[in-house]
Amino acid sequence: MTSISEDSDKEKVRSVSVDLNNDASLVIDIPDALCERDKVKFTVHTKTTLSSFQKPEFSVPRQHEEFIWLHDTIVETEEYAGLIIPPAPPKPDFEGPREKMHKLGEGESSMTKEEYAKMKQELEAEYLAVFKKTVQVHEVFLQRLSSHPIFRKDRNFQIFLEYDQDLSVRRKNAKEMFGGFFKNMVKSADEVLISGVKEVDEFFEQEKTFLLDYSSKIKDASAKAEKMTRSHKNVADDYNHISGALNSTAADNNTAFKKTISVCVLQKLEDRVASDQELKLTELLRYYTRDIQAAKDLLYRRARALADNENSNKALDKARLKGKDIAQAEENQKQCLQKFDKLSESGKKELTSFKARRVVAFRKNLIEMTELEIKHAKNSVSLLQGSIEILNSN
């Protein structure tokens, strides 16, 4: 049961990846979250000047499932087919730290008090980091919606923000899960089919190849970054153990083991480097992996519309040939064309803005990460210098 206040960390938390236009008319944040067993309750706080809301400021408790529901309803809304729908936040995963905590409890007897305390502290820190990250991705999802000129007016979104009762969304049952899985299958099969359809607009053609390429690359990079941060964490853990062992050695041995202290701190620094790296770089990449998936989805939808358009064209031709149902086919064809045109137009706009957003986000995160790296390295340098001096002097 952990509760954290995000206020102090707001800057940091929001640093993730998205450049949000700070429109004061609708400001959403998650100042607080409560973790109960495997449920996480986020407090969604909204401040608005929009007339569509009843009050200028309110907060509601929301669960992860409700976020997913919101995402799904938006995806299913036909009108938004031409928009990049912000990716849904990933399911909170506290299994890792929890498992470790469990193990720690089991191994309590075999460890010294200090070691235990240290391990516990470390685990708590890790847990907190995961928790923060979870809160953050949910917050970002809402902020993306709120900053989008169309989504912010979405009814469901407003209900999500305002309705202070339980939305009583249930978890997807097995059938639905399977349905979703099936849908994905169809989609990917469809994608293959559609890929044969000749692209009419060069922009989209380009964008498509780019996104496909980019998505595989960024997926790769994100996986690698994850690996890297994990091993970085391992190193930090090792420092921790070493400092513990050195401590106990020094306790027995009053000779030249002054190093202990410095290594302890070193471990913390290393840990921080690892977690910051994780936060800045890995999250950035991860987020964009999802975002690009969203963009790809948009392209898919557009391609689908294009295919539909062509099909309707064909149908119209057929109808004309046969001389019946011409009016209906014409109507259909017109609709499809309209839809496609609209989709193309908004898609183009979305993709362009997406690109700009991505660049800005990368910039911001890279700068921040670099600055943090420098800061940590400088800290370690001064620390190391200090301990070397201490060692040299005695």
């Binding site: 990079a221 690698k224 890297m228 190193v235 000779t255 910039r363 790296e373 370690s380 340098v381 040299n392």
Partner: protein
């Protein structure tokens, strides 16, 4: 006298045989017999060194020593040779005669064994004999008996056959060498042409001081005695014999007048020096024992301040092919210590040679409570890889790791003042060819035996329950035990740190690659450039991690591994001490039993057996005192060693840890540089 006449022959060239025989007319047959047999024994090349020596003394010979000899000893010689019958100076002659008879009868003489053995044996005896007349003259007389006789007998022969110049030279040489010293009591042998003599000289000078010291000192000396003998490969057992002799001699010498012992020594040396088969080694071993002690002390002090011996192990090279292949390492030494022949020298050694050195050292020194630094373990797997594998990075790493470990091992050995004195160490560093070290193979029969021994040791260790009286040891043993555990734990952790860092380095490399790919497909030029820059930075960081991992390993992990091994050696010392204690206790118990037996006998009134029991008690009492002293000695040594080890350890750790921290510092600074270079790139993304 017999001793002296016997001593002189060995150096004689063959041409002198007839002369000798002539002498033998005057002397007892036994003497010639021995002398001839001894003459035969020296190897032909033996004649050389004496000749060199002879050349110089020539002039002096006739100056005074001769007259001296001729004046009085001659008579004595003449009278003496007829053996026991002479009534003149009975006390004086009777002893030498004993001596002679012993010499004659002793199997050693008949043995073609080098003089070395005979000499020391005789020397102490003559010494003992010389004791009764306690004043200076006695000493001189004794000297005369021993040395001049040959001179006199020979001088007589000179008179008879003055033409035999060569021969006369020869005995004059003998005379010369002994007499000047004897007569003038100058502790310097004149004109020492051989290196050995320099040692002898110092020896002589030193001796009087040494003699004042309690016998303990000599006991210690005996321990370290093998050290000074230079490249005496074959004579260790023999020198041991000599030591014990020496030991006695010196303990007696304390009773004697101060003049005696130097002379004895000199005599011995003189006698030994012309003797041949292993001229250098025996002399050094027999003569420089006492100085070795003092030298050692000096060196010990020296080594504390300015330790001037640099050893490096370089150029690992694979020799041979297949499973018989081995790695040879270049061992280069740089020193200004005088005990080495030159300032810099290099030898090639293979791994088993290092192990062999350790075997030799631990055999000799471990029982005395010295901490013998252990070499790196054998690694069948690693070596097989090296043997089979071509150019594989892991085998290269293995070789480098071993090379570094061997270097540290040697440095530890030579930084130990006592071990540095060991001839095997010197031989290892200096000698071109070493006999192939056997019994270092892990799977050989000897290896198996060793394992067996270790097992029995372990068992006996468990069975021995020592109630420790010495608090210091009690604590220390506990400390070492704890420390070893901590070190082991720490070592495991550092190893995992090394592995994780390697992993991190690998992952960073992969990430760098994928960022580069991402950069190449990014369509925003600035971002693309920044990403490729980032890839470069990550690449460099990967290098950094790799270096740091190597640093982790070599400065930290290996340090711990070394000390885990060293702590094992320390424990070995404690075990040795315990064994000594056990021996003492056993003797104590035995003595107790014998006493009980005596009491019983006394009660049963059996006087015939009583005497035997008393003898046994005396014997065991002696043993108890001896073992007790040994135990005390080993305790003192172990204590000294452990203190030294602790000091060394603290210094080592401090040095290494500072080095390690500096390496960390360095990599962090590099990191700052890399990121700072990247920062403007990141900012340039528009």
């Amino acid at each position: 006298m017999a001793a002296s006449s016997e001593r002189s022959p060995p150096p004689f060239p063959d041409s002198e045989e007839p002369e000798l025989l002539e002498d033998s007319d005057e002397g007892a047959d036994a003497f010639t017999g021995t002398s001839i047999s001894e003459m035969d024994s020296p190897s032909p090349d033996s004649t050389k060194p004496p000749k060199d020596i002879f050349n110089e003394p020539l002039e002096d010979i006739f100056s005074d020593p001769l007259s001296n000899i001729n004046s009085e000893p001659q008579k004595k010689v003449d009278t003496k040779i007829p053996s026991p019958s002479s009534d003149e100076a009975v006390d004086l002659f009777s002893d030498p005669l004993d001596d002679d008879s012993e010499v004659v009868s002793s199997p050693e003489v008949q043995n073609p064994m080098p003089d070395l053995l005979n000499e020391p044996v005789q020397a102490p005896k003559s010494d003992v004999l010389g004791e009764p007349p306690v004043h200076k003259n006695a000493a001189r007389q004794q000297d005369i008996f021993e040395d001049p006789p040959k001179g006199s007998s020979k001088s007589s022969s000179v008179k008879k056959a003055a033409s035999a110049e060569l021969f006369s030279d020869e005995d004059e040489e003998d005379l010369f060498k002994e007499l000047p010293k004897v007569v003038t009591k100058k502790p310097q042998p004149s004109g020492p042409p051989v290196d050995v003599f320099t040692e002898v000289k110092s020896d002589v000078k030193v001796k009087p001081q040494v003699k004042d010291d309690p016998t303990d000192l000599f006991a210690e000396e005996a321990l370290t005695a093998p050290a000074p003998k230079p490249s005496a490969s074959s004579s260790s057992s023999r020198t041991n014999g000599v030591h014990s002799e020496e030991h006695d001699l010196f303990s007696e010498a304390t009773v004697e007048l101060s003049l005696d012992s130097p002379r004895n020594d000199r005599k011995k040396k003189d006698a030994v020096k012309p003797s041949v088969s292993a001229p250098v080694a025996p002399v050094a071993s027999s003569s420089s024992k006492a100085p070795s002690k003092t030298l050692e002390e000096l060196e010990e002090e020296e080594s504390e301040d300015t330790f001037d011996l640099n050893i490096s192990v370089t150029n690992p090279e694979k020799v041979g092919d297949g499973m018989n292949a081995y790695m040879a390492y270049k061992v280069s030494t740089q020193t200004s210590l005088t005990m080495f022949r030159s300032k810099t020298f290099t030898v090639r050694r293979r791994f088993s040679d290092f192990l062999g050195l350790y075997e030799k050292l631990s055999e000799k020194h471990l029982q005395n409570g010295y901490i013998v630094p252990p070499p790196p373990e054998k690694s069948i797997l690693g070596m097989t890889k090296v043997k089979v594998g071509k150019e594989d990075p892991s085998s290269a790493e293995f070789v480098e790791r071993r090379r570094a470990a061997l270097e540290r091992y040697l440095q530890r050995v030579v930084s130990h003042p006592s071990l540095l004195q060991d001839p095997d160490v010197r031989e290892f560093l200096e000698k071109e060819e070493l006999p192939r070290a056997v019994s270092t193979q892990a799977l050989s029969g000897a290896g198996f035996l060793k394992m067996l021994n270790k097992a029995t040791d372990a068992v006996s260790k468990m069975t021995i329950k020592m109630n420790e009286q010495d608090v210091w040891f009690d604590e220390k043993i506990q400390d070492v035990e704890n420390e070893e555990q901590h070190m082991r734990k720490l070592h495991v952790m550092v190893e995992s740190l090394v592995n994780h860092r390697k992993e991190l380095s690998g992952n960073t490399a992969v990430f760098a690659k994928s960022v580069a790919m991402l950069g190449s497909s990014e369509d925003n030029t600035a971002l693309s450039r920044a990403l490729s820059q980032l890839a470069e930075v990550e690449d460099r960081i990967e290098q950094l991690h790799q270096e740091q991992a190597a640093n982790d390993f070599f400065t930290f992990s290996e340090l711990l591994a070394d000390y885990i091994r060293l702590l094992g050696a320390v424990k070995g010392c404690f075990d040795q001490r315990m064994k000594a204690w056990q021996r003492w206790q056993d003797a104590e118990n035995m003595l107790q039993k014998k006493r009980e037996v005596e009491a019983k006998l006394l009660w049963a009134n059996k006087p015939d057996k009583l005497q035997q029991a008393k003898d046994e008690i005396a014997e065991w009492e002696a043993k108890v005192t001896q073992y007790e002293r040994e135990f005390e000695r080993i305790s003192a040594t172990v204590r000294k060693e452990v203190i030294r080890f602790d000091k060394e350890k603290a210094r080592d750790f401090k040095r290494q840890i500072i080095k390690y921290l500096e390496s960390l510092l360095n990599s962090q600074q590099q990191l700052i540089k890399y990121w700072e270079a990247f920062l403007p790139e990141a900012k340039a993304i528009a």
